[in-house]
């Protein structure tokens, strides 16, 4: 029996991919495979705190062309918890600053012998381009406003840990949907697992076209609030907005900030989530962020769990365990 099997870690048959590029392209079974393995790895590492060696001898390169603190560190820790080595690259001070294209930079790093490239870039589709150009696995750590699969997964894992299942829940994504990769990752992931998803915010940040794609579009938080099981409060992405989509932060907070008064109108067991970094006083007040319904810090821990799952499954694509095969035939 292998170490992984002894630790209770499986490779579900649904998983066959070498890359994790977006949640839009995955089916429900693949998403569940990631969540299940995340739970297993979280347990095997004592709540993401201890080191195991299931990926010993492998190397994970973080290639971030955009600033990041939590995602970068979360991926690094996830790799280290599983026994892999990590190597860090950032766009400032590297050859990218000297005019090299990001594909050439990635190829150079791959040539150093890495097994995964974890990439973040301001332009949608860059991980997909790298997956075509590189031989190693590519994990998307955020590509512009397009997708951020591990963020979507950690949000879903957190919901599932509290509610047992995603199916049938009403989840509202509130705020800057237009510029948010977290919003898109959640939209695809949650809807594939059977949740009712509402996108809520001012019309300049929430396109009516989302309704054409089958999602509920709302502009009045107070109207939808009593129906919601989960609120995911997205940060206003000032850095991605060419022109300010609302008159003032004060006006935005008045319309959409989750505060104590609004909490009184919410369901008793509502979960309050935020992908962070949070703008206290803009989308969420401190009383709510630090209150009993907030699971913001659990999300951070679960981030390591889903990133361990992404690393583990992409490294073992197709190597699903015999036990799992038997389970499949029974």
């Amino acid at each position: 029996m292998s170490d992984a099997a002894q630790l209770g870690i499986t490779v579900p048959a649904a998983w066959t991919r070498r890359h994790l590029l977006d949640l839009e392209g995955l089916n429900g079974d693949e998403i569940l495979a990631l969540l299940d393995v995340a739970d297993q790895l979280k347990t095997a590492t004592g709540g993401c705190r201890h080191k195991i060696s299931v990926l010993a001898g492998k190397t994970c390169a973080n290639l971030f062309f955009e600033n990041s603190t939590r995602t970068r560190n979360s991926f690094s820790l996830a790799a280290k918890r599983l026994g892999a080595d990590t190597v860090e690259f950032s766009s400032t001070g590297s050859s990218v600053a000297k005019g090299e294209t990001f594909v050439d930079t990635a190829k150079t790093i791959e040539a150093m012998g890495v097994d995964w490239v974890v990439t973040r870039h301001r332009t949608p589709g860059t991980p997909h381009l790298l997956a075509r150009e590189l031989g190693c696995s590519v994990l998307n750590a955020g590509d512009g406003p397009h997708d951020h699969p591990t963020q979507g997964l950690l949000d879903m894992l957190t919901i599932r840990q509290h509610r047992g299942s995603i199916e049938g829940l009403t989840v509202a994504l509130v705020g800057d949907i237009a510029h948010s990769r977290t919003a898109r990752a959640n939209l695809w992931g949650l809807s594939k697992l059977g949740a009712h998803v509402i996108v809520c915010g001012p019309p300049t940040l929430v396109s009516q076209r989302w309704a054409e794609l089958g999602f509920e579009v709302a502009h009045d938080l107070d109207e939808i609030l009593p129906r919601c099981d989960v609120l995911n409060l997205l940060r206003i992405q000032f850095e991605r907005q060419a022109a300010r989509p609302f008159p003032s932060v004060h006006e935005y907070a008045n319309l959409y900030a989750m505060n104590v008064a609004r909490m009184k109108r919410a369901k008793d067991n509502i979960l309050i989530m935020a992908p962070g970094p949070i703008n206290r006083g803009v989308e969420i007040t401190p009383e709510v962020a630090d209150g009993p319904h907030s699971v913001i810090l659990e999300q951070v821990t679960n981030g390591i769990a889903v990133r361990m799952a992404a690393l583990y499954l992409t490294a073992n694509a197709g190597n699903h365990s015999i036990a799992d095969d038997k389970a499949g035939t029974r």
């Binding site: 839009e24 294209t101 990001f102 594909v103 870039h121 301001r122 332009t123 949608p124 589709g125 860059t126 997909h128 381009l129 590509d143 512009g144 406003p145 397009h146 997708d147 510029h179 990769r181 898109r184 396109s207 076209r209 989302w210 054409e212 794609l213 060419a242």
Partner: protein
Amino acid sequence: MTAPILITGGRIIDPANQTDRVADLLIVDGQISAIDPAKESIPDGAEKIDASGKIVSPGFVDLGVELREPGFNEDETIATGSAAALAGGFTSILCCSSTMPCIDSPGAVEFVRQKAVQADGVRVHVIGCLSKNRDCEQLAEFGLLHEAGAIAYSDAPRPITNDALLKRALEYARMFNLPIINRPNVMSLSEGGVMHDGQVALVLGLKGLPTEAEDLAVARDVRIAEATSGRLHIGPISTMGAVDLVRRVKDRGIPITASVCPHNLCLDDSNLRSFDSRFKVHPPLRSPGHISTLKAAVADGTIDAIQSGHMPRAREKKMDDLDASPFGLASLETTLSTLVTYMVVPGLMDWSAVIDRLSTAPARIAGVGGGCLSVGYPADVTIIDPDAKWTVNPLKFKSRCVSTPLDGLTLDAVVDSTIVGGRVRYQRGDDSAK
């Protein structure tokens, strides 16, 4: 003088003279000498080209090609662009001002014309800048540019963003009877966009180029053209709204003209799901509703002409992500085949209409001659094999640009030979593009 040529047995399609029949075409001294010439009038030693099973058409005319020289020779040169045009069946092209320096001085016009003479291929007609430095502040010297040989004024591919300047240009150009060409685009609505603003852009998180940016510019253009009685060509257009405006204003008898690019008749915005920069083209690939409207408008003549939209960019520039890589494509060598594949084969348009949109109409709009096979006119002739099929491989293009959204597609019809002024300047061979 050039040697006489007798093109035998081809189907001669000449919309300007309402000709569509199998006949021989005699070229003498660089001019069309006769259709179905009497035996005794054929000079001894005339070169014979067997065109049985082929279509004999007036040479194609392109209303706006970027040649990029001087300044951006890595993208294209006048010589390589000329060779690409010939391989695409074009005998005349209008050259845009996306050069460094731009073509806002008589010297720049002369430079392009001289380089074209050296290239000794397609007829290159120069579009002079509409504004000095293409910055939309002040009119370029229309009179001096005209004297140097410019045949139209435009800042294309940049749009005219200054309403008052467009009005002044349309008024002022009237004394030279030359057209103004505008590429409709309200920049404040489209800034930073990389693809059609629709459902696909929303899903991909890519910044959109909204249709209203084009519609609004067309609405302004047609109103100013009407007010000034100026000669205005709008193009390329790519939206339902633009087609609607053009149709309505033409119904009122305002003599504006419009054109469309072949890529907007065949490929939709879902191609961007690949995140491949070869689909980053301008005008952008729109959603299917726009495509069917544009096809109908080309077929019924609301859209007068097809222009290739040739916008060559070097391979290294296109080898980047969708934000960083420029808009651009090589399209001179695929224009005819795209139209045949997506318009003629499905039965939306007949051959005569295709040749009208590619030759007769653009020649009339530009006022540069050509576009017909009338006796006594310069022999600009394109011979087409309508039944051949080929697979697009941009590495075989004459153009320096190897990026095309049609890469790998199999298309109908091939240009067999291109004759400019009675000289065969391109002949499809083993080493040719197809």
